[in-house]
Symmetry: C2
Amino acid sequence: MKRKIPYRTYLSEEQIPKYWYNLRADMKDKPEPLLNPANLRPVTKEELCPVFADELASQELDDTTRFIKIPEPVLELYKVYRPSPLIRAYNLEKHLGTPAKIYYKFEGNNTSGSHKLNSAIAQAYYAKEQGLDGLTTETGAGQWGTALSEACSYFGLPLTVYMVKVSYQQKPFRKSVMEVFGSDVIASPSNTTESGKKILEDDPECGGSLGCAISEAIEKAVTTPNTRYVLGSVLNQVLLHQSVIGLESKAALEIYGEYPDIIIGCAGGGSNLGGLIAPFMKDKLTGEANPRIIAVEPASCPSFTRGKYAYDFCDTGKITPLAKMYTLGSGFIPSANHAGGLRYHGMSPILSKLYHDGYMEAVSIEQSKVFGAAVLFSKIETILPAPESAHAISAAIDEANKCRETGEEKTILFGLTGTGYFDMTAYNDYMTGKMTDTIPTDEDLKKGFDSLPKVE
Amino acid sequence: MKRKIPYRTYLSEEQIPKYWYNLRADMKDKPEPLLNPANLRPVTKEELCPVFADELASQELDDTTRFIKIPEPVLELYKVYRPSPLIRAYNLEKHLGTPAKIYYKFEGNNTSGSHKLNSAIAQAYYAKEQGLDGLTTETGAGQWGTALSEACSYFGLPLTVYMVKVSYQQKPFRKSVMEVFGSDVIASPSNTTESGKKILEDDPECGGSLGCAISEAIEKAVTTPNTRYVLGSVLNQVLLHQSVIGLESKAALEIYGEYPDIIIGCAGGGSNLGGLIAPFMKDKLTGEANPRIIAVEPASCPSFTRGKYAYDFCDTGKITPLAKMYTLGSGFIPSANHAGGLRYHGMSPILSKLYHDGYMEAVSIEQSKVFGAAVLFSKIETILPAPESAHAISAAIDEANKCRETGEEKTILFGLTGTGYFDMTAYNDYMTGKMTDTIPTDEDLKKGFDSLPKVE
């Protein structure tokens, strides 16, 4: 009884995509443009260039070029840790007793521990090419900061990371990893920026948020000579770079004549989900196929499922352009007992548009259920997942269980974005019964919505 | 300019070895037998069976069967995370400016974070097959305990882990990972055993040692009904299981017509080194090839380079059989500032015999040099190594630098046993200049040697 499909499928080095796929090119209804908050006009490349490296500013605004060549030095570094494996979850299928075929694309087998490295390398490369002297960024759970530290170290670029203070305190080892790669890591809000000082004046005990760390990182970039800011999610350019995930997944599935009926990804800012679904969404937009696409978000930070589709600032300090997206308001901060990442108030404008137009579904899950799925998955599939990734696992289990009820042999693909080795405090809370779930009340949400800017 | 050899080579699932290779079968001069300390006669299978699962007791004593079939359920679980990649260190070669070709076999891409899982799965499987009700073991840095927890969880076997107290305190997250897999983790020395109590009476502040944790785990196993003890290194059976590392490495190198001139592995108890070199040592024993083989150990625990080749107990409590090995004496405890693993007082009897007979070399390295190599490797090869593994990296760099001096294009293979995500306290000490080196004085060593039993 020879098994045709192995547990792990690795494409060859030559099969790593040579081009990123720009999903916007195939969207007839494009995402709404970024607006300059001063005049509510679409931002221009000239306006973006003081913040982003020039090439990245171009990519941010380019909604027509379908394929963008991956620069050779980026591809070389991709080869050091890619292709990532596409894994058939035979053990999970057996445990659930489901006729569904479950696949997952595992992006955690690199030191940054997540998919974030795919965009970090691209962004560090373009910055280096432009001759910049340094970069700034923010990080929440620490995956993006670690990935960018790794990429900047490789290309020899100094990096300052503003790390959300609660994560900085909960995950000192993440900070140490970034320091191994030579980065300067600062707990946010901090006294190193005007926006940080202002937040600390209002609330000296503030544990920070991604939106707040973004404000500080941008301010630091624009006030430091020859320095730019980079962001690990949300932006169009990031989804572009992350398309390697989906392109590799599709190529690996094609080897076995497989095509997913359901594609599931966790969604914080949307970088993994946007990358994973890119080539499949293309099929959907062009009518070639019609897979279900499901975004999974924490019940404690439910941008898609309870947010508004509105223009909002990308940061708390209200210094970024305005993006039309599903948002809880830049003033929204998840409950302090929220353990994982996915804590961003907004969502990728591309994914927001697709969700608004009915191309995607979204579900939200409480964290105790998410950690239950994570522990089960650890035992059965032998990978200890990041809490972020476990959102997708939980939803995939739900769909596989539905297949058990109906007898349908659906093919499910989900994104396993990373590993949870730096999340053991949260795992420990779950194991010892200390983890609680907090779902924001309508009143909580209203406070966030009150922070939305008046546009139109 | 097409590069023929990729960064990462993965064998296919079908190419995972179906048989373990038993190096002893090809040794004309066999390792000395284990002795029963009561009568100084070679131990029999009957004497081992109260401690080890029956099949493992057989494997421990079998020095004639050349290939032993890997049971199907073990092979199935191997497929979930194997084959592991053979990586060409192009970036490291370039950084060093060496004509040497550097390859490393990376065993860290699984949740246990190291090669230890290869033997853990085998040992848990045989225990389950025999119908045992539970297992006990010890762990130092935590890699073995994590690996066995993962394997026991998979096969549904309860596990008690005695964790060396200093590691238990320095690495609480390792403990949490083991608990995710359902294990009971106890800091050793503890009050749960007579041997632990005795050690605590002599020294209530004792930080523990592997030898001491072994005593407790064995005592717990033999005093608990239908329970056995398992060990993650040193034993012949463990080297047998770890031969998959070397077999895969050799098969992957053969694809490119490569054969290593130098093979380097870190050595604590010898499980990784013994597994990595197995098929190459075969060539050496049979005269087919003559690679240099180098064991690398910490200067603070120098069993090969400063130990005695003598019969010694495998544990501190002196309840195990006696093994002829390079040893610092079971009473030797590495200096408290020693950060990594590789802290065992003895060494695999197989490797000890080969070293004694001139088939291997050994070097010892101070930990600050080891961490320097680890940080460099993180930045250049993008994998943050375990301190254990970094010993091999450091020695490989030394050899590659010699090639730069001589212009020799040697092929170097080293074992990258695992990742260092749970060793960030030590990395942080190194980064902040707090790490110190302590080399045992002759007086320190004499104390250990004084604990050697009188045999012959």
